[in-house]
Amino acid sequence: MPRRLLKHSGILLKIIFFTSVFIIIVIGGFAYKQISGLTDSTNVLITTYRINVELEQVTSYLKDAEIGHRNYIVTKDNQYLEPYFNARENVNNSFAILKELTKQNEKQKQNLTELNQLTDKLLTNFSETYDFVENDSTKSEGFKTLFFEEKIIMDSLKKKVAEMIRLEEVLLKERQKEYRDNVKFTPLFFYLVILTTIVLIIIAYFKIINDFTRIKKFNEELLIFKESTSQSEIISKQGNWIWHSEANSFTYSDNLYRLLGEEPQSFNPTINNFLKFVHPEDLDMFKEDLGNMMKDKDLPFINYRIIQKNGNIKHFKTYGKSFYGSDGQKKVLGITTDVTNEIENLITLEERNLELERNNKELSEFNYVASHDLQEPLRKIQTFISRLEEKEAESFSNKGFQYLERIKTAADRMRSLIDDLLQFSRTNKPDKAFVFSDLNELLENAKQDVAETILDKKATITSDVLPSIQAIPFQIQQLFLNLLSNSLKYSREGVSPIITITYSKVKLDDDQRFKDITKIYYHKIVFTDNGIGFEQKYANKIFDLFSRLHNKSNYSGTGVGLAICKKITDNHNGFILAEGKLNQGAVFTVYLPAN
């Protein structure tokens, strides 16, 4: 984002710069043209004045010549002829100047030629009158005629000069107007040009200030980012390094040095200096990985150990990814993490896991073997009792026979304890496969197992249609069997047991009674009986192993059956709850996860 903004800003500045340069060049051209136009106007003005001056001069020379000529006629003194003789030369000089000044103007050129002719005529007229003066025939008709002609020529001359001056005045007026026009627009034009340039400079100035502020902000952010990276490297025990592929050189971050147990930037970040830290056993592998990285410009996750100077061994994990730097060079950016703690924790955890597994297995084996091996002597005791009962009964006294019966009862009880324990330890084994099972069928099998008791006690069992679910079939059957036998066993004296099994699919996600709910929907199967029930305060206790609520001489339970039920629902990631009302009945609710 900042980079793009700056890039755009660069383009804008370029546009402003080149526009300014262009405008200034154009302005320069205009200014040059304006000034040279002004100079031209001035030159024309000067020319006009000079022409007027020269023309006055010519008139003056000719007047001097005329006056000199008249004085000579009156006095016959030759000295008065001086201006006349000079007139010719002076007039010629003036004409030469005038010719040069009027060469641009055809009309004046023509006027000048006419003026020249008139002058020639006048001077010729003068020289013709000399003869009359020499001969004293000034009273003659010829002289009078010449004298009169002289006046006429002089008048024409004066008229011509006046005409020329008038023409120049007209020209001068035109030029003055032109000059005024030029002069009128020039300041405005310059003013506008300067104004435009100032506006452009101001835009550029603000743009630069704006960019500068932004760059400052980005620099600030970059600084914060750098600092936070450095901090997070320390906290996460990470260091980074860059391999510049073309220069084949490395740079290390400060924390990489710390991970090696060194002061930041305390040695040259070369390969050989790093290899000094690598554990000798991992060195070959590390060198190979490094070689591959230089070849492939990539480094997959590698694990190795290093030895710090103080002898501590650390586990490192390194990963590298190639990228192109702003100089277009290919580089590999690597992250090295100190994973010593993780690895040590993992090892401890693995050890503990193994130990736990071993303990668990031993416990389970002990349980199984104990109950299994206990069966054999017990079976013999029972068989011998049956032999005694049958063969030796008559040789016992009454008391002896009673004792025998007591032994028999105790042995039977031990038998059921061992059987239940065996059942319980088998339920422990978690390696049973889940298969798609019809719960109706499993319930039916369980009912078959207690068919005799159902008949004896005249029990009624009603059940809803149950679903088919993923389950360990023999365990679910065991669960149903245990719940049924439990209800049948704890029936009220003289009341036929009625067991109702209902089913519904429920949502448990907001139910506070359950922890570790893994699914949203659960199959809820409820076993309700009309037996002796129990006090609600024992509801949780009855699922504990060997826990019994009733005297064993009245009810023959071992306290294992419901513990097995709990274990089975646990194995299925389900729950079992008990509710009881003394002398009214018990409700057992089983929740099994629905897919």
Binding site: H372, Q375, E376, L378, R379, K380, Q382, T383, S386, R387, E390, R415, R426
Partner: protein, 140 residues
């Protein structure tokens, strides 16, 4: 014929047959090695039914069963597994190895007598044809 390392069990076994008063000859062995040595003698008279305990020292019932089933001369003997335990694994394994019936040792002498008389009077030819995992374990 019975192979069982337990003296008491051998006693119950012979007593039961005595009381059954069936016309049977009973021979017992103390362990698997003794049993196999006998079966491997030249002119041995093979039994109708062999009751085989699984948990025996030296050579256990499973090994004996394997040896008999791999020996053509002995492979036709009807074998009744006769064990204290009735674990799923044992039942499964002996069934797969080719035993004919699995008996869990009863804890009542009268039941023992009934089981033995039932087993001895089984028509093995017929029983083996209809054998499956469900009727392999003899229900008492």
């Amino acid at each position: 014929m019975l192979a069982d390392d337990d003296e008491d069990d051998r006693l119950f076994f012979t007593d039961a047959f005595e009381e059954l008063k069936m016309n049977t000859k009973v021979r017992t062995f103390n362990d698997g090695v003794e049993l196999m040595d006998y079966l491997n003698t030249e002119d041995v008279i093979l039994p109708n039914v062999l009751f085989l305990d699984l948990n025996m020292p030296k050579k256990n019932g499973i090994v004996c069963l394997k040896e008999m089933k791999s020996n053509q001369k002995l492979s036709d003997i009807a074998i009744a597994i006769y064990s204290t335990s009735a674990s799923e694994e044992d039942i499964e394994e002996t069934f797969v190895l080719g035993a004919n019936i699995y008996i869990k040792k009863p804890n009542d002498f009268n039941k023992l007598k009934k089981v033995l008389s039932d087993v001895v009077s089984i028509n093995w030819q017929y029983h083996t044809n209809g054998l499956n995992k469900d009727n392999f374990l003899l229900r008492i």
